[in-house]
Each structure stands twice: as C-alpha cells, then as structure tokens.
Amino acid sequence: MDSTRREPDGRAWMRRAAGPLAAALIFAGGLAGWHRVSREASIGEAMCHALLDNSTAGRQALVSSAWWPPLPTLARLLLAAAMPDIEGWPVPSLLLGAACGVGVVMLLLRTLARLGAGRIRYAFAAALAAHPAFVDACLDGSNTALLMLLAVLAAGGLAGWLARGGLRHLVGFAAGAGLIAGSSIALWPWIALAFALIALDQAFDPASRAHKEAVLILAALPALSMAALWCLMNWLIMGDPFYFLRSIPLRAPASAAAALGAITRPHLAAAAAAAAALAVGLVRRDKPAAAAGLVGALPLAVAILLADRGLLWSPSAELALLAPLAILALAVLPGGRGRGRGSAVAAAAAAGLALFAWFAPGAADARAPASDGFAGTIGERNTWRPRIESHVRRQSRHAVVFVCGYDGFGLVGPRGRSPFVHALDFDFQAAERDYHGCALFLLVPEPSGRSGAESLYWKFPGLYELGTRNTLFNGDWGRWRLYEVVQAPR
C-alpha cells in the first residue's frame, strides 16, 4: 500500500474549508451577540494583556487561583498577542470559542467514525450542534467551549480504548485528561474517575504486568505532569506550591439553594440520558458504553458538590459538559453498529435532548444575566472606575488603590492605570513598604459567585463584611467596597 498522498480534489478542499467557514460564522455570531459574551471572556482577555506586558499581576493571575486555571488563558494568549487590544473587546475569546466549537463537532464525528458508527454519526453531531449549551458555549467567549472539546477528546479516547484498545485512543484520552487538568480544577475528580476505569479494565486484562504498568503511565502522565507543573509555577511565582488550592475549602456566602438553582431540567435530562447509557452498558456488559455513561453523568455530581459549597456560578462549564458527554454516551451505546434500530433510537434521544433543552421550562434560567457578562463589565468600568478615582484623589494626591481579585481586571483593564494597582496576592506590609508615603486604599469585590473564592477571602476572612484591624470603611461602589488602609505614622 503506497502511503503517498493524493492531491486534494474539490471535495477534499470543501471538507477542509468547512471547518474554518463554520468557525467564521460562529465568530460573526458571537460578535453580533456581543451582549451575551461572558465576564470570564473579558477578564481572560485582560489577563492575557497583563501577561504580555510582563507584569507581576499577569503572572500571578495565570497560576494563583484554582478557579482561573492557566490553560484557557494561554489558549487565548497567542491570539491576543497577534491582535491589537481593542479596549476590552474579547475578540480572541470569541475566536477561541468558535474554533473550539467547530473542533467539538469535528472531533465527535471522527471519534464516532473510529468506533464504527456509520452515517448516523452526523445525526449525533447535528444534535450536539443544536443543543443550547453548545450554542452558548461557542458564542459567549468563556472557557466552556474549550472544556467541551477536551472532555469529548478524553471521553472519546476512553470509550475507544475500552472498545478497541489502540494507542491512538489511549493517547487521545491522556491528552484530553492532561489538558483538562490545566483547564478546570472541578474536573480533577472526573479525570480521576476516568483513569480509575482504565485501571479497573487493566486489572482484569490478561496482559503482562509490564504492559499494564505502561498503559497506566501513558494514561496518567500528562494529567500528573500538568498538576505538578501548576504546583511548580505556584512555587516559583507565589512562593507556595499549593497557593492555588487554598481557596478550595472556602465556602462562598451564596446559599447552596441559590447555587443549586443553576441546575435546571435540561441538565438533569442530559445526566439521565448518560445514566441510561451507563445502565444499558452495565446490563449488556458493554464497557465503552458504561464508561461513557458514567463519565457523562459525573459532571452533575461535581456540580452538586460545588453548589453545596456555593462554588457553582453561571455560566457553569461543568453543567454545560453534560450535553456533549450525554450525546457521546448515547452515540457509543449502539456498540459501533452504524445502522439499525439501536442507532436510530439513540440518535432520536440525542435530538430530543437538544429540543428539550430549548423548550423546557426554566431552561433560560441557566444563563447568566447580561448584566453579569461582558456588557456588565464594560458598564462597571465606565461607571465606577472614574468615580472611585475622583473619590480617592479628593482624599489624597498620592493615593494608591489596590484592586483585589480577578474582577479587578474587568474593572480597571489589564494595565493598572494610576491610581489603580492590581493585587492578586495583597499583603499589608508589602504594600506599605512599596508605597511608602502614599495614601493606600483597598478595593474588594463582593464575595458572590467566583469572587467569593479570591485569595483575599482565605487570607483575610470576613474582609468584605467587617474589614480588618488595618482598614477603615471608605465607601461602596456598586458591588465594590473601598477600604482605607490605616498606616502607622512614621
């Protein structure tokens, strides 16, 4: 067999152009619906520019929080470097979302083709593309589309490995899991479970011990390396290898009931579909279907756990993953038979999931309000930033305002313009030493949603509500609270 490549014909060129064309259309849709772009996208952009400016705040922002993982920022970074900074407009995020969205569909098609699905795989892909969680992920510039892509890569690799073995599937799983480890702390249990399934499969495999060991090393190495690298970067930049993990035990003030409200009927339906795939897989002793069903349903458990701690906020990437993973589990269920009633039933169920998600009561409640998105970020910046600036300048000509937390990038932009200074790891003594002679202020965001997991709140518990012994309340500005830092006279 000669592996010489043939020259591409017209159909091949059309196939190649379809992806970029679709991405361009999605990107245009994202721009047109800019008011739906998420706050995460605009803050992510600002972090990119802070990194490109070689600022300490940028480097700290990259690694110091488990809730702002580094890989999505790095994925935006090259795009941000190649484009001019259009004041706050998250163009790279939208491009990334569009590219990842197309990638998810293409990856699903390829995975199903490798698992032996016939043309019915297009029905599954269409159901995924039509699902509102997928549509939102592509258009809101958040990390969700990227996470969907990685989750489908990992779950598809897992199913493929359990079905057929093959290095390609094992490496696909490992790559997806490794990249997820750097993209979502909440999915670390998901990675662990998927790995445990491989280990369990190997335990019953008659292969040699050396072979099993090699499989487990190949499967786990990328994720372990990513976690180790994150710790190393925290040690180098923050001085503490586990700095980024210290916010995990926090309980955000938002009530569990409110957070649980983010879990809607469509999410439950997707989880149920995955659970059904799991049940059928167990009954039929179909390892790939059972595994795909289990990992498909797990994000719901993760979401409930996060909600219980008040750490679930809209839009939730973990909840959004339920849709593509459920559709993948349904597609794997017919066992690679491309034709037949089983495939058609599974495809119909996938389409039903998408339709239900559009029209189910309360489905729209899962979306974050526009005021919490990019539009809200710009509004906040235009409204509160000048007022805070003029307020502190009236009190002192040499005022410095430490803007704490990631939301500070949204309020002030990537470059701390005077008198604002980004502070991801605020320290009173360091601030007084570095800004000796200046009037110091601390601007802290209300601890709701992701803001409640800032390092500020595990270092200074109750800071927003009560201040500290070093601070005096100096005013409220929307959801921002200003404190004056009390300094000893010199």
Partner: protein, 475 residues
C-alpha cells in the same frame, strides 16, 4: 515482477560523486560563500553584542524561543500523524511469502566491516537465515585491504555460494560509504540493502521489501526498515537508547513517511532500487552520516522514501565512551549534510518546495541547533528557578517568557512522552518508565553535539568506529 535482473556493472569509482559533482559532496566542509557568510554573521553578532548586549541577547532568546515553538509543534504533528496509522507500508507474512521463488529478483546485500572478526559468524548466520532463495542473494562482505584479522576470519568461514568477499583498497577517506560505493559498483541485484556487522534483520525482510516496492509507484526508490536493539535492558544507557530509537523509528520516521516528506535514512536496512542508487552515484564517501545525506539527495531528485514495517535488530552501544563517539559522529554528519544542501538554498527551495524546505531546516539543521543550545536554556531555567534573578526576567519579556516556559515544560514533556509512546509501540512495556526520566540522557546528547561541533572544524572526516560485541547476540 519478472526474473530479469540487470547485468553486473563494471567496477566504478567510489569517489565519483565528489569528483563529478563536488557540490553534492562534503569533501569541502564549507564553500567559500558559506565561509564568508559565517564570518560576516560572527562579526555582526560580535558588533551587536558590544553595541547593544542586552538587545542582542534578547534577540537571540526571541529567535531561539520561536525555534523551540516550531520544533515542538512539528514533533507534535509528527506524533499525531504517526499515531493516526497508515503511515508505514505493512506487508503481512502471507503476502511476503506469496511470490514464488523463481519470480523474485536478485537482491544485493552489502555488509561493510572493519576490524570485526568476532562479529562475522553471527552475521553470516543471520544472513543465512534470511528467507530468500540463496541463488537470488548477492551478499558482499566489504573488507578493508589492511584488515587482516577480518579477512582471515572470512576465509576461515564456510561461506555460502551467494556470499563473496570484496576487498576495498586502502585510500582516503576511510569511511563506510566509500566501501559501500565499491560494493555498489559490483552489485548484481535489482534491489540493494546494507547491513552492519551486528545486525539481525527479520528473516522475511527482503521479501517484504520486494512486495512493498511492487505496490509503490516508480517514485519510491527507498524503503527504510525500523531499527531497534536486542539488548535494550543491558543498562540505563541502553534503555534510554532503546527509548530514543523506538521514538525515532516507530513514531517520528513513520510520521515523516505519512507526510510524504524527506526521511533522514538510518544507517542500515535501507532498501534501494539499485539503478536509482547508481543514478545518484551512490553515497557521499566524505559524509559520516551518508544515509541522512542520501535521503535528502533522493528527495531532491524527485524520488521518495517510505517506512517499511519490518525491524532489524542491532546491538545498542552500552558503553558511555563509545556511545558518545557514535553520537558525535552522527551529529557531525548532520552538520555536514546541512551545509552541503544549503550551499545553494534557493536552489534547494526551488527543487523541493517551501513545505519540504521547512522540514529539512527543522529535521537536519534544527536537530543540531537544538542539541547545541539546549544546555544554555536549561541552565537559565535552573538559575531562574533557584534564584529568581530579575536579570533573567528582562531577557524573557512578556510573550517570550510565556512561550519559553511553554517550550521548556510542554516541549520537553512532548519529547519524553513521545519516547514513552515509542517504547509502548515497540512492545518495550517495561521501558516506558525509563523513557519518563530520559531528560538525563539529553545531557549526554548535548555533550556529544558540542564534541561533534568542535570536531567538525578539527577533523571533519574522522569516522570514530563504534565498538560492538559487549552483549551476546539475540537468539
């Protein structure tokens, strides 16, 4: 396939390539133009370093970082292409046995030897076990005229009729490719391959090559077999060497084959169409990695090489001193090959196109460059990790820092993981964990590269022969 085979040619000039086409030969390490360019570049860098030392340093860091990004992305693409499958020509045992003996063509095998009398019996035994009609084999043992010990050992052996000894006259340069050119001129076969003294090819390798050539178009003039070792677990060095070879021959070269680009051939078990080899005037006698050079020349002339899914087992050099010599020779040969083919870069670009031109830059030139600069960047990374010097932060501003960190961690991880995948693919499951700690091995590679770089200027044609025979042969 027909049984018609070419008549043996008259004895030819083993240095014909260097004499008739000196532009293709490494006989001259540098052209005058390259020498002038090198001097001009060196002076420019010196002047810039004096006038703007930090700017020059940053520019160097920038360029190196971009280079590392390109190499990392390139290696990832190769791995992905290879893992996707279909990148090699696979011939099953049944397909290999399908042609009748009478239909098989004469196959020439060249085995250059020098001071290896102890390897002869095992070699002859391995070749005897080849599943190929003895009357269709044309094996030449290429022995140097002054190698009395090996010649005596050959004379003492009861060689089969298809074996003959060809004496290579003593002349400069004393290299393997020169000996192979002597053998090429006397070869009778339609196809030709080379084996080293310690090689143990799979018995049906020749049959598979014949079938594979039959499937390919006329542009495919070379099939490269995979190489690996029969002593991978001898010590740490052989484990790492085996991991490296597994990644190279089982992962990267198939990836190149799948992409249809230049394949830097391995030293043995390359199967050629003999007439094409003669058309190209054989190997460059002055190049110490004549195989890599030939792979590029084949491609420039419009021929293609493919990977053949069959293995030749060799002895991994498990002694550090000899390993370093061997590796230095390889790197020096890559330097020679790069300079030869970059004598007229625009011509090269025209002949092979921009895509393959880039492949050549990364594969050949890039490999040498990365081995040379790796220690510098590892040292800078270590300094920064231990001391957090602000001086270093200013060398790596903004995007450069991020890209550099990505290359340091993600890039090196890619190479480690590729080694692990290569071991798995080869079936060396117990070696996967050794591949994970292969960065230590990279230090040896860089040391060898610097040794090669210096030797290129002091003694460009020196062939430091690798000592073998420290491990019993594979049974």
């Amino acid at each position: 396939m027909t049984a018609r085979d070419p008549a043996p040619p008259a004895a030819g000039d083993p240095l014909a390539l260097a004499r008739e086409h000196p532009e293709w030969s490494a006989q001259r390490p540098f052209t005058a133009g390259q020498r002038r360019l090198a001097i001009a570049l060196a002076l420019a860098v010196l002047a810039a370093s004096i006038a703007a030392p930090w700017g020059t340093a940053r520019a160097f860091v920038w360029a190196s970082t971009l280079f590392y990004v390109a190499v990392t992305a390139y290696k990832l693409a190769l791995v992905r292409r290879s893992v996707a499958g279909g990148a090699e020509i696979a011939v099953t045992e049944a397909e290999a046995r399908a042609p009748a003996d009478a239909d098989l063509p004469v196959y020439s095998v060249l085995v250059p030897l020098y001071r290896e009398p102890e390897s002869l019996p095992q070699l002859v035994d391995s070749l005897r076990r080849m599943d190929y009609p003895p009357e269709k084999l044309d094996v030449q043992l290429l022995l140097e005229e002054d190698d009395d010990a090996t010649r005596a050992a050959a004379a003492a052996l009861d060689l089969p009729p298809s074996f003959r000894v060809t004496v290579v006259p003593v002349s400069f340069p004393r290299t393997k490719p020169k000996a192979c050119n002597v053998g090429l001129a006397l070869a009778r076969g339609r196809y030709l391959t080379i084996y080293d003294a310690e090689d143990q090819p799979e018995p049906d390798q020749l049959r598979k090559a014949v079938v594979a050539f039959g499937r390919c178009g006329p542009e495919v003039a070379c099939l490269q077999s995979r190489l690996n070792f029969y002593n991978p677990r001898q010590n740490w060095l052989t484990r790492w060497f085996a991991a490296e070879y597994s990644a190279w021959f089982d992962l990267f070269l198939p990836g190149l084959s799948g992409m249809g680009t230049i394949i830097p051939l391995g030293g043995t078990s390359n199967h050629f169409i003999a007439s094409v080899l003669r058309e190209l005037m054989g190997w460059d006698a002055y190049n110490v990695t004549e195989d890599c050079d030939l792979g590029v020349r084949l491609f420039r002339r419009g021929y293609r090489s493919r990977m053949l899914a069959t293995t030749t087992w060799e002895e991994a050099c498990g002694r550090r001193r000899f390993w370093i010599r061997q590796r230095s020779r390889w790197v020096k040969g890559y330097i020679q090959t790069y300079l030869v083919h970059m004598r007229q870069p625009l011509r090269l670009l025209r002949e092979i196109g921009p895509r393959h031109f880039l492949h050549f830059q990364i594969l050949v030139g890039g490999l040498v460059f990365s081995l040379l600069i790796n220690p510098l960047f590892w040292f800078l990374a270590l300094l920064w990790c231990l001391f957090r010097l602000e001086l270093l932060t200013s060398l790596f501003p903004g995007l450069v820092f991020i890209l550099g960190a990505l290359c340091l961690f993600a890039g090196n991880f890619t190479f480690v993981y590729a080694g692990a995948i290569g071991c798995y693919r080869r079936g060396y499951f117990d070696l996967v964990k050794y591949a994970v700690v292969s960065p230590v091995y990279w230090l040896l590679m860089s040391y060898s590269a610097w040794r090669a770089f210096l030797q290129f200027f002091s003694n460009p044609f020196l062939w430091e022969k690798t000592q073998h025979g420290f491990h019993p042969p594979r049974t």
